[in-house]
Symmetry: C2
Subunit: 195 residues, 2 copies
């Protein structure tokens, strides 16, 4: 805890950027060392192994997401506004290229080849996000603000799939705006209001 910006946080941030761009096997300790400006051995001091590093990263990502979601719910009681804000958050991250992909979505695609300790955390993130979305869908249906044909669980999974798929399409097309182009009508379609 010497400098203002802690080295361990810089290491985590750099690891996240690398993973978001090329996955678990797409970077090395040497890559991070160069970005952060320390030696490889110093990274091992903070995170003894690559598994430790990525497990910590994913666990922290889930915790922060859970806090953000609780935060969002207190600010926007309306379930439709909640979905709009969630989609809008990612639209902004993708369009300003600050976080062009979800780190857990990328790791989930490599799940069968991931070290088990990391895989566990990635699955936990997906469970956490889908249970939050299910809650939102349920509340929206009860309040007559959202409408959908199937169960809240299925609608939550479908919404999540569309979000992650839209990230992929935006990336594959080299067109960040495509994310919002897909998400805005998708959220709108869930609205119970005539449109």
């Amino acid at each position: 805890m010497s400098s203002l910006v802690m080295t361990s946080d810089q290491i985590l941030a750099s690891a996240r950027n690398f993973i978001v761009s090329g996955g678990y096997n797409g970077f090395s300790y040497a890559d991070i060392a160069e970005v952060v400006g320390v030696r490889k051995a110093s990274i091992h001091h903070h995170f003894p192994s690559k598994v430790d590093l990525v497990r910590t990263l994913v666990a922290r990502h889930r915790e922060r997401t859970e806090v953000s979601m609780a935060d969002l719910e207190s600010k926007f009681p309306d379930p439709l506004a909640l979905l709009q804000t969630y989609a809008g958050y990612w639209a902004k991250c993708i369009e300003d290229a600050s976080v062009p992909f979800c780190v857990c979505a990328l790791l989930a695609s490599e799940l069968p080849a991931l070290p088990p300790e990391v895989a566990v955390e990635v699955r936990a993130y997906f469970r956490s996000l889908s249970s939050w979305l299910t809650k939102v869908m349920n509340r929206g249906a009860e309040q007559g603000i959202l409408k959908f044909a199937g169960s809240a669980e299925l609608e939550a999974e479908t919404f999540m799939a569309t979000v992650h798929g839209a990230m992929l399409s935006a990336r594959a097309n080299g067109n960040p705006a495509l994310f919002d182009a897909i998400l805005t009508p998708t959220v709108q379609r869930l609205s119970a209001k005539v449109h």
Copy 2:
């Protein structure tokens, strides 16, 4: 062309399996050598470099997909049946674990870190698939068989995003059936028939 099953085809098939499970950097020539039962040097004989191997794999995947799609169109003139068959094809591949993920979807997620020669081919696959889907959406709307609010292009991109996102959700949840659970209502929603 000595044996019945060509070694180069076995190499490509093995590479596809590895990529589908862990991405471009998730396997080595040694891994393939072990599966196919030849030495590393023999793989270099067929595919001088890893870039050659994966570029060939993706290019062939696109060509075969294009042929399959043309084939499908001649068998099923109905645009709705076309979408159902396409979704059903993937549902089968995922559920019997023969091809649990689209090789191009996985590579697209790693696009920024991919060798340029491979990245070009992956983008070509996405363009090819989305232009086919756009064609189907357009025809469906003209014939009054499909109905959707926005443009055919956007509907095609949204459908593609849902397919790829559903693959990811099925993988993250360790539940192959989730793919079909998401896709069946998604296709149904596009039907112009009352339901």
